[in-house]
Structure formats: structure tokens, C-alpha cells
Symmetry: C2
């Protein structure tokens, strides 16, 4: 597998992107990474690193995209950015998949603009992984589409299900609609309509799920619009951090607490691991014609390494072909929904 | 102050509602509670309890409302329910405020139907309290309105600000709009329009806030529609519970962990207290003509006691008059927004 990595993207790039790529190629055979970005900087980062020589190469890109730039401006003015060049490599068939921890709005807009949507897909969506007490679930859409129509949510469910099945080996993913009550009739205008589409779609749909139940493992795929999904994801991230801080602070106030904290370290570490986005590396933008993985701006070396491994697995398992087939099967007879949307 | 309590509402009613009322009248002088519900059951619960004799009385109501009943059916068929009778007591001036831990949809619909909205209010909203690392913030709307217009969010901000100032003594509450990025232009159709209204309203508006930042104390009032707010509230509740469970489980697996947990108990207790809805008792439905406090279905004795105390304070401080005046001041010149909404 050949992965194009936006080596200038992310808060700690290019140091962690290069280190992550080196770790990935040292762990996986059959993997090569093209580091896209400033040639001189990337050569400096690679110096004194050890890796199979043919497994990493550099493609120069003269521009970088800042974290605050708007997608439309970047598309117009940054035609030689590390994001854009990485996506173009995939388009040209010189890479099988791309990974970026840079400006996620720009990465999404660029990959959509350059690669285009899969046939039948209305809106590509981000599939993020979140922890439960016993395992994990896929949240889709985690932030690509702020205003959605019911048919989009049905497509998110199908794409998220294919992802859960093929990457996390969940044979028949239980899929639920994120809402404000379990009763069928509860929700806002969007989710009430989406409920009917999901119920009649033939997927393993378990109905509405409330926010308090998503961490108990009741659903494998949780579907919502990208505005709600992004808020859900960020609140979970913020609360997990706040709780860790509160516990540490309360403990350091007391001697017994300090001993308690020392004894607790392993449990806190295992908890952190469970809630750490770095474990999953990144989230695919599902519904594009090629695999694109969007990583957290704060990505660590480990997160980049895992994102590269995820991109390889995503490509190797042919998930895009699987999504295409499943969308077609589910959408047969639904052309009228697409038209009147 | 005279509080009407839906004594049949909540998962553990009437035992905890009666016990909560007894504790409240024993703690606060100048407080009387009317327990509304089945006379015989309530008399049984009150037997052998100690309280100033004139501080608690019973008003019989022949019906109760189940947790799954729909508001429209309850309004039609349950005209002698404990919720309905409690609200009617407030309407008739026989009580100053009401508290219910029963079916929250029915409690909201009934109080809105019977008591009506404050002049100038488009939509009453639930103001819930959530913890931060250093204190708390008010989340509004936490679930009353699933589909909102921008003007509703402006009114929520004004009502939530009055609540934060008068109940939590925050002199100039920093108010933020819950969204998916700090930049002004980010959000969905609703929040982009609401952003402009909030920015131009003269309130202490700090812009958009992301989900990950709501627990750091950056905002005192966080505004959103009731669908998003309910999901935010429930996700926080679910995640806090999941984290506590994961820590306990990971700790009980190891002897050192068990000792650690023993030493940790105080910190976990203080954390639980911080995230425990029972500390705040309930959430007012702001924008009604009289004070109504909606409590959690799982309310404990302490939650009921605190909800009764909150209802008393809400009434004693004249918050409804304050909200009326502030809404009028902010809405002057905005009649056109109300018309074109």
C-alpha cells in the first residue's frame, strides 16, 4: 500500500508526521509512505532515522495551509499546498490513500473537490470512533455536514455500518439514531423523518438512542448530522479531560490521595488509552471515491502511525467498493427520495 | 414561600418526594409544601415523619402520569393528575411555584398550557446547570424545544443570563453559543443567524464555543437549541457514569488498585458531587408566567429537597419580573425579527 501523508499538517508537524511515518513503515511491510511538504524540512527530519530505504519518499509542496484558513480560500490560493498535493497523488493513482492532520475543513473540501463523491452518495461524512464501557462505536457524521436531510442520515448509516463491519469486525452492527428519547416519535424534524427511512431500510436499526446510553455499548453505529456529531465528539473529549484534571487536582490536595493516585496510575492509563483518539489515528471521510483519513490537529506520533495503518487497512479491504455495493442495494427503489430531497 | 410538589412524579415517588419535602421544610423556615397526589399514599408516607405541622399539607389528585405518556394525551385525559393539579395550584395563587420529577414532557406541556408564557417570550426553555473544572455553567435550552429559530436562541441567552446572575451570583455572565468552531462564520444555518443576533444584543457575548471547551469555565451561559442541548446534557451524564464505572472496574482487578480506590474515595465523592444533578435539584422552565422546576426522573431525596429550595429562591428573588424587564429592554426595536421569524 502506498500512502500519501500531508507531512506539514497538524500542530506538531513535520516532526511527528515524519516520526509517525517512520514508525508505520517499520511496523508494516508492504507499506510505503510519500511525505508531502517542504523538501528541505522533511529531509532534515528524516536524517538519522532508520527505515527501509524504499519505503519513504518525499514529494515537494511549496505551500502549507494554516489551521484558520477557509476551505474556499485554500482551494483557490493554495494549489501547491501539502494537503492538495497529497490528494492529487491519490487522484493520479500514485498513492492508494491519503492522511492529513492539518486543517480538517480544508482537507475535507480538497479531497471532495479533487477526488469527487462515490456514485450515489449525497454527502461524504466523517466516521469517528468513540469508546464504550466494553468496546467502541462508530459515530457518523462527526462533523462534515452541518445541515443535513433525512436521506443523508440513511446514507451515513449504511457507510458507517460498512466501516464498523470491515474495520472493527462487527458482523451485523446495531445502528441507532442519536436523539432525545427512545420513543419512535421523539426527535426534531430531521430525525423523525430519518427514523422512518432507517426503519424501512433493511439495516439492523435499533431505533433512537439517547446521549446517556451511547457509552454503554447498546449501539455499534450512532447516526446524526455533523453539527450534533461534532458537538457530541468534542463534549466527550472535553469532559474526559476535565474529569482527569479534577481527579488529579483533588488527589494532589491530600497525602492519602497522592498515594491513591500512585496506585491508580495504571487504571487511569488504561482509561486514557480507551478514550484516546490516538489509538484510532483518525477518521475516514466516507463517501469519497478514494480513501482519505482525517486526523486530529493535535495528533501525536502514535496517532499519525495509526492513521497511516488505518488508511492501509481501509484500502486493502476494499471498503470503498463495499460501500458502493451496499449503497446501491439499499437505494434501489429510493430514487424518488433522492429527487425530492 | 408555598411550593406545590408533584408528589407522585419520579422513579422513586412518593417515598423520596415526601422525604425530600420533609427535609426541605425542616431546613428552611418560611417554607410550606403542598404534596399533590394520592391522599392515602401520601398520608402513609408522612406518618412518623417529623416536621412543623403547618408546613406540609396534602392535596388529593386522583390520577398519575406514566413516564411514557405523551403530553397531548395527558393534557386531554389526565385533568386530575398530580402534575396538573400542582400546576393549577400555582395558577390559582394557592402556591408560588411548582416542582415535578415526573414525565418531563408532560410537566412542560402542562405548565405551558395552564400558566402560559411570559409576555414577549416566544418559547420557554429549560436552564440546566452543568459542572466545570472550577465551577458551573447554565446550559439553555436543555430540552424543551427541538426545532428552534434564531430569535429563540437570543431569548434563551437573556433568560439564562438572568438565571445565572440571580441564582448563581455571576454578575455579568459570559454567554456563548454552542457550535463547531470558534470562528464567527462557523455553525449551521440556525447558529450562524443566532450569532448575529447575540453579537448585536448588548449582552456579554463571547462568541461560539466548542463542545470541548464548555467544561473549562470559559462561559457562564451556553446557548443552543433543545435538541442539541438535551444531547449535550445526556452525553455528559452518560460519560461521567461510564468513566466512574470503568475506573472502578479497572481498579477492582488489582490488589494495589483496590487500595488505590480506597484512598481515592474522597476524590471520587467530590467529583460525583460536582457532576451530580441532585446538587442542583432541578432545572427551571424559563419563560413561563410562574416558576416551574423540572427535576430528573431519577431524583433522590436530596434532589427533591434541593429542587424545592431552588423553587423557593427562584420565587423569592422575583426572577420572573427580572426576565420580563430584560427581555423587554433587549427586544425593543426587534419587533421586526419577531414578525418575520
Amino acid at each position: 500500500m502506498r500512502i500519501a501523508l500531508d507531512a506539514m499538517g497538524g500542530d506538531y508537524a513535520p516532526a511527528v508526521t515524519v516520526e509517525g511515518a517512520v514508525e508505520a513503515v517499520n511496523e508494516l511491510s508492504n507499506l510505503s509512505v510519500t511525505l508531502v511538504g517542504n523538501q528541505t524540512e522533511l529531509e532534515n527530519e528524516l536524517r538519522e532515522k532508520h527505515y527501509p530505504p524504499s519505503s519513504i519518499n518525499i514529494r515537494h509542496a511549496s505551500q502549507t495551509v494554516g489551521m484558520d484558513e477557509s476551505p474556499s480560500a485554500a482551494l483557490r490560493q493554495k494549489k501547491d499546498s501539502s494537503i492538495r498535493v497529497a490528494v492529487e497523488l491519490v487522484k493520479a493513482g500514485e498513492a492508494d490513500a491519503m492522511v492529513s492532520a492539518g486543517n480538517s475543513g480544508v482537507a475535507m473540501a480538497t479531497s471532495l473537490f479533487v477526488l469527487g463523491k462515490l456514485r450515489g452518495v449525497e454527502r461524504p461524512a466523517i466516521a469517528a470512533v468513540m469508546p464504550t464501557i466494553t468496546g467502541l462505536f462508530v459515530l457518523i457524521d462527526a462533523g462534515a455536514n452541518v445541515d443535513c436531510k433525512p436521506i443523508h442520515l440513511l446514507q451515513f448509516a449504511i457507510m458507517g455500518g460498512a466501516y464498523a463491519r470491515n474495520i472493527f469486525n462487527i458482523s451485523s452492527p446495531k445502528t441507532a439514531l442519536l436523539g432525545i428519547g427512545e420513543e419512535d416519535a421523539k426527535g426534531n424534524e430531521l430525525t423523525k423523518e430519518a427514523f422512518k427511512l432507517l426503519r424501512d431500510s433493511g439495516i439492523n436499526f435499533s431505533g433512537n438512542i439517547e446521549g446517556k446510553d451511547i457509552f454503554t455499548g447498546e449501539a455499534d453505529v450512532v447516526v446524526c448530522d455533523g453539527f450534533v456529531g461534532n458537538i457530541a465528539l468534542k463534549i466527550s473529549e472535553g469532559l474526559a479531560e476535565a474529569i482527569t484534571k479534577m481527579l488529579k487536582r483533588d488527589l494532589s490536595d491530600r497525602a492519602a490521595g497522592r498515594l491513591g493516585y500512585f496506585l491508580l496510575k495504571d487504571a487511569l492509563k488504561s482509561f486514557k488509552k480507551k478514550t484516546d483518539y490516538a489509538e484510532y489515528g483518525g477518521a475516514p471521510l466516507l463517501g469519497l471515491s478514494k480513501p482519505c483519513i482525517i486526523s486530529h490537529g493535535r495528533s501525536s506520533t502514535k496517532a499519525i502511525k495509526n492513521a497511516i495503518k488505518l488508511a492501509s487497512e481501509f484500502y486493502a479491504k476494499g471498503i470503498i467498493d463495499i460501500i458502493t455495493a451496499e449503497l446501491e442495494a439499499t437505494m434501489i427503489g429510493r430514487e424518488n427520495i433522492l429527487v425530492k430531497k
